[in-house]
Amino acid sequence: MKGFETVIGLEVHIELETASKMFCSCPNRFGDPPNTNICPVCLGLPGALPRPNAAGIDAAIRVALALGCEIASRSKFDRKNYFYPDLPKGYQISQLDEPIGRDGHLDLPSGGRVRILRVQLEEDAGKLQHGPEGAVVDFNRAGVPLLEIVSAPDLRSAQEARWYWEEIRRIALALGVTDARMEEGSLRADANISVREAESQELNPRVEIKNMNSFRFLERALAYEAERQSRIYLAGGRVDQETRGWDDPKGESFLQRRKEEADDYRYFPEPDLLPFAIDPARVEALRRGLPELPAGRRDRLAARGLGEEQVRLVAESGPRTAYLDLAVQAGAPPQEAAKWICGDLARLENEGAFDFAAPRLAPAELAELIAGLARGALTGPAAKRVFGLLALEGGTVAQAVERLGLGRVDDEAAILGEVQAVLAENAKAVLDLRQGRQQALGFLVGQVMKRSRGRIAPDAARELIERLARG
């Protein structure tokens, strides 16, 4: 809506994929039968005490480093107190004023920069489910380490907010700290959104949309909300600070609760856990161990000459990028390798039939396939068949060509024989072609391909057909 600027801040929650939970040794595993990965600590039984998981703290430090944060030299945990049936202790162990990381940033494709205020470590709650016998709680998730990444209100559109969230996901995946499965709730976000007149520096009351677990829903909800708030201001109304939910089928947000009902969480330092120092040497070691991040991948791939869409599709995943690197190392031109990766290989990956991290079609063989095509040793259709075999079963290009009998036929007499046979069997098409119907030419070339199982180069076949048919 013209004349208004949207102001969005995001709180992204990532469940960290540690072997055990944050404050006890129960397995941190999704999908097990309800209430099997539980103990006195994560159930909040009387007398139980938390003990911190160093792997969770390391993962938090790595994410904070990847987001350009300053890492605290001293940190501590705090209690956030509230009652809910999925919260076994009546408080959540979280971080208030000494988070693991602060003052980071993330750069947007537009060139803008989103400030990241804090990266803090906390524990997840159990999962409340409503069944036929009423509400039940699965505490397998209770105590799973949860990272909260809080941005400044620096996002200016629903699309930007979506990109920012997706980028955090890509970074977390690159770091290997999460599986980021949206459907399992391991990546969630709360958004704060307000609108203001363009050029204004004031912040209007904000609406919070909580617990989003889909990029698309977030973008739709924020776009809707920006428009709703703009309309209210245009009509001379007032937007109240409140929490709203998103009803995606209806395409509407709805009021959940007003500010006056807001909780007072009575934060105070968690007395069961000692404040802890973070050794700068440990931080440096973790910094040195950071993998290439998505932004770095994108820069590098663009420098290799990949197109914008190719860069996006390859850099999306670390294994795809590594695959491309290896294929290029083996001599493949980057753009040609990217075509296969973004096309047929990505399709197979989506179908679950190909894994870039453990590829049956080795990157060097892809390079070989591309080279074979380039020097004309394989026709396009033959290359497809070789590819199909290698992608599913592995092996070398040479083996596949041998097995499929796909060496290109270069002998002119042999090509002539095949073409003549096709023309003889398709008199109608030949007639059509003579009468100037060009589509008949494509058909006849296809028949030659079929008959020769792709071993005759289509161009050679086309030239010969035209010559003979028009004779």
Partner: protein
């Protein structure tokens, strides 16, 4: 019934058995429990089995140590696997824990024979056991008077010969004060010296498990049995556990001590003050040097305590919501279900402290109350450490008065809170402290308190042993 070390010696010589010791204990229970109500749960059968196992070990020459075969009692806020543990609250009235506290496990592993679970003020909040949801315990010296609290049942059980020692817990004096009222030795170790795992939390930064025994040497033995780092309690100290019994044997002749005047100020009964002065003189006569020390911030300790302890309690007790265990009252909605379950489950004093704690942690009040109280805590600790640069230990009364009568303080919470005024500073500063019986006044026990620097239980026990010897009639 003598000390546990004496009983152990008799077993070693074959003059008695663990089973016979247990029979003596249960005999005392039978004779006096009806009047005194020390226990919430008795475990005669489990205890008999444990005693027989101990005797079997001894018979084959595999006795484990000084605690093997010794009858003891656990305050009922210490979890015992499969044995009802209530914290003297209706909200845990039928609670069966799936695991045992680390301190309990350690004692069991050393062959000690658990006789039963001792009464307390609900969730350890009180100074008389009058706030137990299951009725008060009575002082064996004068059943018309309170035994002190909150570890009142533990003190009564030891004082009345129902067991040789007991574990209690402290947040602001809950071991030392009942020890003083009942005429036994009560030791609160330094914060972190004994694992809190399996102790139902009252105020996490103050809570510490302590011992009730007949003499100082027994305190050293029991402490040695439960002290030391525990991977299940991050606040437990990794510092090595010294040989406490050796410290006691060494005696405290070379030590210096101070009697801070702030601990003899108004509110302290004259007969209590006189006994402290008498004890100080006796120590000097035994060669300990007395020096002047002052702890001017002492009077603020009670205020800080009644902010920090309720604040932490309000959070620690949030888990008792009727959702996963304990009685659940149904309501028309979730909020009502919480209100009903907690409203019916908690007693008045517990509710009072939850309200206090919720208030002081509320937005806008946190800095003025909780943060300020924490600052005061640092000031107090620094003040103690300066005093300990001058003297090895401090000698004070344990309580301002001797045991009071039932109902004397229940109408006035502040008067009840004053019973802990002299013990609370050690909890706030994390110091080890012990109450040793002095000469009774008016037929009632008087407790003499010794305090030492953090993690110097060895020095504390040396001085306490010397004091015990000095005041012995």
């Amino acid at each position: 019934m003598g000390s546990l070390l004496a009983a152990q010696e008799r077993m070693r010589r074959g003059e008695t058995t663990a089973e016979a010791l247990l029979e003596e204990s249960l005999g005392q229970v039978e004779a006096r429990e009806g009047d005194l109500h020390a226990f919430l749960t008795l475990l005669p059968e489990d205890a008999l089995a444990a005693a027989r196992q101990s005797d079997a070990r001894r018979a084959r020459g595999a006795a484990m140590g000084p605690l093997d075969g010794i009858p003891w009692a656990a305050k009922d806020n210490l979890l015992t696997e499969g044995v009802r543990t209530t914290a003297a609250s209706r909200i845990l009235g039928d609670y069966l824990p799936p695991y045992s506290a680390t301190a309990v496990r350690r004692l069991e592993a050393q062959g000690a024979v658990l006789v039963g679970k001792a009464n307390l003020d609900e969730f350890a909040m009180g100074s008389s056991t009058e706030y137990s949801a299951f009725g008060p315990s009575r002082n064996p010296v004068d059943p018309g008077r309170v035994p002190g609290g909150s570890s009142g049942g533990s003190a009564v059980a030891v004082a009345a010969g129902m067991c040789h020692f007991a574990l209690g817990s402290e947040t602001g004096g809950s071991v030392r004060q009942p020890a003083a009222f009942c005429g036994v030795v009560g030791l609160k170790p330094s914060y972190g010296r004994v694992s809190r795992y399996g102790l139902i939390a009252f105020a996490s930064s103050l809570d510490q498990i302590g011992t009730l025994t007949r003499d100082v040497r027994d305190a050293a033995v029991v402490l040695a049995g439960i002290a030391g780092e525990d991977p299940f309690d991050q606040t437990s100290s990794a510092s090595p556990v010294p040989d406490y019994l050796a410290a006691v044997e060494a005696g405290g002749r070379g030590l210096s001590f101070g009697v801070p005047p702030e601990y003899l100020a108004q509110g302290v009964a004259p007969e209590v003050r006189d006994e402290v002065e008498r004890a100080a003189g006796l120590l000097e006569r035994r060669g300990l040097r007395r020096r002047e020390v002052s702890l001017p911030h002492t009077s603020y300790a009670l205020d800080a305590y009644y902010i920090i302890a309720p604040a932490e309690a309000s959070s620690n007790l949030a888990r008792f919501d009727g959702m996963r265990y304990g009685p659940r009252a149904d309501g028309p909605d979730l909020v009502q279900a919480y209100r009903q379950s907690r409203g019916q489950g908690f007693g008045r004093e517990v509710k009072r402290r939850i309200l206090l704690g919720t208030y002081v942690l509320s937005a806008g009040y946190y800095d003025a109350y909780y943060l300020q109280a924490q600052r005061l805590r640092t000031v107090l600790r620094d003040e103690f450490l300066r005093a300990f640069a001058e003297v090895d230990v401090l000698l004070t009364p344990t309580t301002p008065t001797t045991a009071f009568r039932f109902g004397e303080n229940t109408a006035d919470p502040l008067a009840m809170y004053m019973a802990d005024a002299l013990t609370i500073p050690a909890n706030l500063a994390g110091l080890p402290a012990i109450s040793v019986p002095g000469r009774p006044a008016g037929g009632l026990p008087v407790g003499l308190q010794v305090m030492a620097p953090p993690l110097r239980e060895d020095v504390l026990l040396q001085a306490a042993a010397e004091l015990e010897e000095a005041v012995r009639p």
